[in-house]
């Protein structure tokens, strides 16, 4: 459906929301079973140990970094078996949704379920929650002892939200920008932002009924050399959009870049900037946490080398003080892991977190400087976003992508300019080598250029696209920086 009214960052009126809801629930037969009041009762009946927001609050209080895997298979009993297998090795559980469901292709997901049942193994890369429907999703939550989050990549996640939240999932990943730009090709940004306003409004309705659902904008975006200020700007915008619809429990995310100073500075600045922008917009009663994603780019095939990447990411998550860490597996280079490999990634992560837990990164002028740079970048970009949107975050986001002010490297979406080109500096931090039309302050841009030039001199070559390609493959070939061979 298209929308009569222009996109704006305003809470959706209840009557308009309810009218839209009738249509959403008719998009697939399983939508008919959803009853909001029953969903509220299901959520209220969850013990505290199964509530995502409570687990996050406890972790914040204790200064602990929680562990969460990704996992999802085609069939319900197999999915429950997988999560039960992983449950003792982690703090928070996921349900990763398959790629057909993410694009609302429920007929294809149905074929995937059938073929998986026939093959005796999952042919889908996740759990098709909409096809399985409310009762089966509820059975997943009931079979587990820990909080479960829906993790996906869905530009129109309205029906998925209705079904899974009514079933007792207590956290929902995604956002109108972060689940469009890296996950879709031709979905207009206005449309995905509007569809996510619906999801956020639904979470807001649960909040009004005393049920706190955690919302997590997807931090890493394309997962490929994304400078922290780019993902921070998107995360903060999505946080603002969620708060406006009534969400109160927000987890802002960031994908590991690989340079220690930059990664620690990124998580610290993300938390402080989130707080700054949310309060400046007039919100004060929110619960803000952070998530650090272990390296989202290409992994080494060799499993021992992959453990090295996982361990380093775990150390950074702990030193940076992230509230939770999303864990990779030794099978990452080959795609979807076996459950054994998935658990091995969790065990590796737990070992490092437990060893680093009592250690803080010492006060450091180098980290402080990096934090200041990221903050100035984010403030400059978001100032332009709000200027373009005449003060409105939703409209500003759409216009900023059109103008190339917000620009995510290596993203598939047609509405993304793709003019900004990142590259690593001589210490492996991700810098901007070609800013495109992103409005960074002149002295900050000079700093980026100096750092890239320093590397270029060290390698005796110009910073051209080949250097970027070398960086993209570097970690899978056992290095952080793609030096010439």
């Amino acid at each position: 459906m298209e929308f009569d009214k222009k996109l704006e960052n305003k809470r959706l009126p209840l009557d308009a929301f309810m009218a839209e809801r009738n249509e959403v629930l008719q998009a697939w037969p399983t939508g008919q079973d959803v009853d909001f009041e029953e969903g509220v009762r299901t959520q209220q009946a969850l013990p505290e140990s199964k509530r995502f927001s409570a687990a996050l609050a406890r972790a914040e209080r204790d200064g602990k970094t929680l562990i969460q895997p990704r996992a999802g298979v085609a069939l319900v009993d197999e999915h429950i078996g997988l999560l039960r297998y992983l449950e003792p090795a982690c703090d928070l559980l996921p349900t990763t949704i398959d790629a057909y469901t993410r694009l609302n292709q429920y007929d294809k997901a149905a074929e995937g379920i059938e073929r998986s049942a026939a093959a005796g193994t999952s042919l889908l890369n996740g759990f098709p929650a909409v096809n399985h429907g409310l009762a089966e999703c509820r059975r997943v939550v009931e079979s587990l002892k820990k909080p479960v989050q829906v993790r996906h990549g869905t530009p129109d996640a309205r029906l998925l939200a209705e079904i899974t939240l009514a079933a007792g999932f207590s956290a929902y990943e995604g956002g109108g920008i972060s689940y469009n730009i890296p996950y879709a090709k031709k979905v207009p940004l206005e449309r995905s932002i509007r569809h996510w306003q619906y999801c956020d409004r639904l979470v807001g309705l649960y909040e009004e009924h005393g049920v706190r659902i955690n919302r997590e904008p997807f931090g890493p975006l394309s997962g490929t050399l994304v400078p922290p200020f780019v993902s921070h700007s998107v995360a903060i915008l999505e946080g603002l959009l969620a708060l406006e619809q009534g969400c109160r429990c927000i987890t802002l995310g960031y994908g590991q870049a690989g340079n220690m100073v930059q990664d620690i500075a990124a998580i610290r600045s993300l938390r402080e900037l989130g707080d700054e922008f949310f309060r400046a917009a007039g919100y004060h009663d929110f619960q803000l946490t952070t998530v650090f994603h272990q390296w989202m780019g290409g992994f080494p095939e060799n499993e021992s080398m992959a453990y090295g990447v996982i361990g380093w990411g775990s150390a950074m998550a702990a030193l940076a003080g992230a509230t939770k860490v999303i864990v990779k597996t030794p099978h990452e280079a080959a795609g979807i892991p076996t459950r054994e490999a998935n658990k091995q990634g969790l065990d590796c992560t737990a070992q490092v977190l437990n060893m680093v837990r009592e250690q803080g990164f010492p006060p450091s002028p180098v980290v402080e400087r990096e934090i200041e740079i990221i903050k100035r970048e984010v403030r400059a970009v978001l100032a332009k976003v709000f200027e373009l949107g005449q003060g409105d975050a939703a409209l500003g986001a759409v216009r900023a992508f059109e103008a190339g002010v917000l620009d995510v490297p290596f993203a598939p979406a047609a509405c993304n300019a793709g003019k900004l080109m990142p590259v690593r500096d001589n210490e492996g931090a991700v810098r901007v080598f070609e800013p495109g039309r992103v409005p960074l302050p002149a002295d900050v841009l000079d700093y980026h250029r100096e750092r890239v030039a320093e590397r270029a001199r060290a390698e005796g070559r110009e910073p051209v696209f080949q250097m970027v390609v070398d960086d993209i493959y570097a970690i899978s070939k056992s290095r952080l920086i793609g030096r010439p061979r």
Binding site: A99, K108, L123, A333
Partner: protein
């Protein structure tokens, strides 16, 4: 001989864009004219583009694990549309789970793909194979 032309894309509902951009870059550098359809390309879109551009090859990528479902039947559809001698390559993380590459290669060759590549393949080798296979098919 004129410059070889290949249609490139990521099949099905797969949105992995990074490798796609790099394959385009590497094959273009090797002197191949690349018609890049980007991510989320259907079988018919591959074939339409190959017919429109007179391409001698279709290069299919799949990273997200649904390759067994998405890639099946492309050879048959090419035949139906008159692309009798087109070179078909497939590469990426083609199946769910870590399986022996030889097994995966066999599975996709049975589907009618001329060559099957793991994600770690050196792209200059792909370019070289492609030029040879196109010359042999002509």
């Amino acid at each position: 001989m004129s410059q070889p032309t290949a249609v490139l894309g990521v099949i099905g509902s797969d949105c992995h864009a990074v490798g796609n951009k790099i394959i385009e870059f590497a094959l273009s550098q090797a002197g191949i004219h690349v018609v890049n359809l980007g991510v989320m390309v259907s079988q018919d879109e591959f074939i339409d583009a190959a017919i429109e551009t007179g391409a001698q090859a279709i290069l299919v990528s799949s990273i997200y694990g649904h390759g067994e479902i998405d890639c099946n039947g492309l050879r048959g559809r090419c035949m139906e549309r008159g692309l009798d001698h087109i070179v078909l390559y497939v590469g990426g993380n083609l199946v769910i789970g870590k399986r022996e590459f030889g097994e995966v290669e066999h599975l996709f060759k049975e589907m009618g793909y001329d060559r099957v590549f793991p994600p770690t393949v050196d792209l200059s080798n792909v370019a070289q194979c492609l030029k040879q296979d196109i010359a042999a098919a002509a």
